[in-house]
């Protein structure tokens, strides 16, 4: 089964040959791959090299924590990827940004108003959690829309706070 794994813009053609073999860009490795104690901690021995990694599903693919470094990896079925490329893919830029609470906490301040024009990097919400005030900033220029919280309110993780359109 062939996949394309993309790590920081670099593509690797990974072919899972059988339980004990994979090839990467044509080079074959003998592998031994197991989980450790029923957790998303994986041990991979590839041609004798022993690697241990914590792997979690992220928003756009896998997050592979390996030797103290986080590698974001997008894995696609090779056929799928080819089809998408043929269709001239590419996700629309500048879509709506929906700010969600990155952790549970208390809204300390909402220094913007509905309809306000804002710049990239401008503070949208100040959220207090674990005794720290965290400034949640806009990832792009735009206009504030649908503010759903106000100062003094407690919010749950992932709760929608406001949007930038």
């Amino acid at each position: 089964m062939k996949y394309v794994a993309t790590v920081e813009g670099k593509d690797f053609l990974v072919d899972i040959i059988d339980e004990k073999h994979v090839s990467v860009n044509g080079k074959t490795y003998e592998i031994d791959f197991v989980t450790v104690s029923g957790q998303p901690v994986y041990s991979l021995i590839a041609d004798g090299m022993s690697h241990e990694s914590y792997i979690a599903r992220g928003d756009d693919g896998w997050q592979v924590l390996l030797r103290g470094r986080l590698y974001p990896v997008v894995v696609e079925d090779e056929r799928e990827k080819r089809l998408r490329a043929a269709a001239g893919g590419g996700i629309a830029e500048g879509g709506e940004f929906n700010l969600k609470a990155p952790m549970p906490g208390l809204v300390v301040a909402v220094p913007v108003e509905d309809g306000q024009e804002i710049k990239k990097g401008q503070v949208l919400i100040i959220l207090e959690s674990m005794k720290m005030q965290n400034e949640l900033k806009s990832p792009r220029d735009g206009k504030v829309s649908r503010i759903k919280v106000k100062a003094g309110e407690s919010v749950e993780q992932k709760q929608a706070l406001l949007s930038v359109v």
Binding site: Y3, V41, M49, W62, L66, Y71, M130
Partner: protein, 502 residues
């Protein structure tokens, strides 16, 4: 010695204090919030009493409730740890009135050092140099501060009068940005300490944050245990500490130590305590503040001196003389502490909460972990994000760095994000290895990405790993329904992947 001590704190420091008590044969009383029923300090203590709901104001800051419990449990002494009530003059006074030993200084010493303006005035009198600023002037209005700022000169710092730990602190580079920053500093100070007063202070450039550990008993003996290097900070929160500092030599150490002892004596200090200094490139140093309590980073000093600071605190509070004279304090090797926080270093150090599902502590020679968490414990958003301190000792600084690298690599915490990758990246940074850093290093000249470039690239391995996981998830999900029916008994114990290959 005392028979029973109440520990008015939570987390790793409560556990640390319980350990010291246990090793002295002293019974311990824990207090806990509703969020901490299963916390390690409750599990380890001899007695445990509920304080109230999770928020600190309703639990760990309830001095009244803690005093009630102390009386009911008939304790001899209260150890406040750090944070919460540790530097409340009123709490020390309440203990005094109740006839319970407060394992800390007298109310008057806390008052003298707790208000930064008064502290400055006091140490200036004792001949200790201070950073130019408005601290001694008293609380000023916004307009008065705007007027003073250009006199001190930019860049400068806004700092909370009642503050500590970087809360209510803002850095100002020009008069224009000052109003916004002043407002946010006051707001944070008000929320953290119930006191929105702030002062201004000249920002020392290329400064190192050096602090001297002192011990002072009730018989007038005051000694210092050398310095700690605490310059690696982010948003004024310390991240990593060392003992000793590569910026000091024996002569400077003796000089700063002597002035620290003088500063402590100027307020009749009794207890362990820390004098914080800024040290500039030209080896000029300025008094910053005194912490009238046990510090988070005390273990690095313990590792290089062999002195158990918490046990000495207990001894001092009992009225006994110090176990050591200044001459007996010897420094051996080098120690480093990494604060392990539940924060995501790949997402702007956002706090992370959740249940720790799996954890592997680094152990072996020269490694110490102080922690209050364990697998199965839930990290809540109510308290500060520090979940462990990883401390190592080595014969030299280079050996300590290598050992820390090894220990960080061994440390596994699954269930919450931690800043361990930050520390790993730091250990690989050439500037850190060279000891060439100051208090601005982390924020201005360090990035996870740049530093990682020096390291071996494991993209290919990451690609294989992610593909294998994706592959097996897909394969297994299509087979799962069938397998499930005849094999549901022990799915707690084996992962789907393992079960598939049995």
């Amino acid at each position: 010695m005392f028979n029973k001590v109440l520990v008015a704190n939570r987390g790793e420091i409560a556990v640390r204090i319980i350990r010291a008590c246990r090793e002295l044969g002293i019974d311990t009383v824990a207090v806990f919030s509703e969020a901490d029923r299963r916390a390690l300090h409750v599990r380890f203590a001899d007695e445990a009493y509920l304080l109230g709901p999770a928020p600190s104001r309703e639990s760990y800051l309830r001095a009244d409730k803690i005093m009630d419990i102390a009386r009911k449990a008939n304790v001899d002494a209260i150890h406040p740890g750090y944070g919460f009530l540790a530097e409340r003059e009123s709490f020390s006074a309440m203990c005094e009135e109740a006839g319970i030993a407060f394992i800390g200084p007298k109310p008057s010493s806390i008052a003298a050092m707790g208000d930064k303006a008064e502290a400055r005035a006091t140490v200036i009198k004792a001949g200790v140099p201070v950073v130019p600023g408005t601290e001694d002037v008293g609380n000023l209005t916004d307009d008065e501060l705007f007027a003073k700022a250009p006199e001190i000169g930019f860049p400068l710092l806004i700092k909370a009068t009642a503050g500590g730990g970087g809360k209510g602190m803002r850095e100002v580079t020009s008069l224009e940005e000052m109003p916004t920053l002043l407002a946010s500093a006051r707001r944070e100070a008000e929320s953290a300490f119930g006191d929105g007063n702030v002062y201004l202070e000249k920002l020392i450039i290329d400064a190192r944050h050096i602090e001297i550990q002192i011990l002072a008993d009730k018989h007038g003996n005051v000694i210092h245990l050398g310095e700690r290097e605490c310059s690696l900070q982010r948003r004024h929160q310390k991240l990593l500490e060392e003992a000793l500092s590569s910026a000091l030599d024996d002569e400077l150490r003796a000089k700063m130590g002597a002035l620290a002892v003088k500063a402590a004596k100027s307020v009749d200090y009794v207890n362990a305590g820390t004098i914080e200094f800024l040290l500039d490139k030209n080896k000029n140093f300025y008094f910053l503040e005194m912490n009238t309590r046990l510090q988070v980073e005390h273990p690095v000093t313990e590792m290089v001196t062999g002195i158990d600071i918490v046990k000495e605190q207990l001894r001092i509070a009992r009225g006994r003389p110090l176990s050591y004279t200044q001459d007996e304090v010897q420094f051996n090797g080098h120690a480093i502490e990494c604060r392990v926080n539940a924060e995501d270093p790949y997402n702007n150090f956002m706090p992370s909460t959740g249940r720790i599902t799996h954890s592997l502590l680094p152990t072996g020679p020269g490694v110490r972990v102080d922690t209050g968490v364990y697998p199965g414990f839930e990290i809540t958003p109510f308290y500060d994000p520090m979940i462990a301190k990883l401390i190592v000792w080595g014969e030299t600084r280079a050996q300590a760095i290598l050992r820390m690298r090894r220990a960080l690599e061994e440390y596994r915490i699954i269930g919450v994000r931690t800043n361990i990758p930050f520390h790993q990246t730091m250990m690989d940074s050439h500037r850190f290895m060279g000891g060439q850093y100051d208090t601005r290093f982390v924020e201005e000249r360090f990035s996870m990405e740049d530093a990682a470039e020096n390291r071996q690239d494991f993209s290919e391995v990451a690609a294989i790993l992610a593909t294998l996981v994706e592959h097996h998830e897909t394969e297994v999900s299509s087979q799962f329904v069938q397998r499930n029916e005849r094999d549901a008994s022990n799915w707690r114990w084996v992962s789907r992947w393992e079960r598939m290959h049995r």
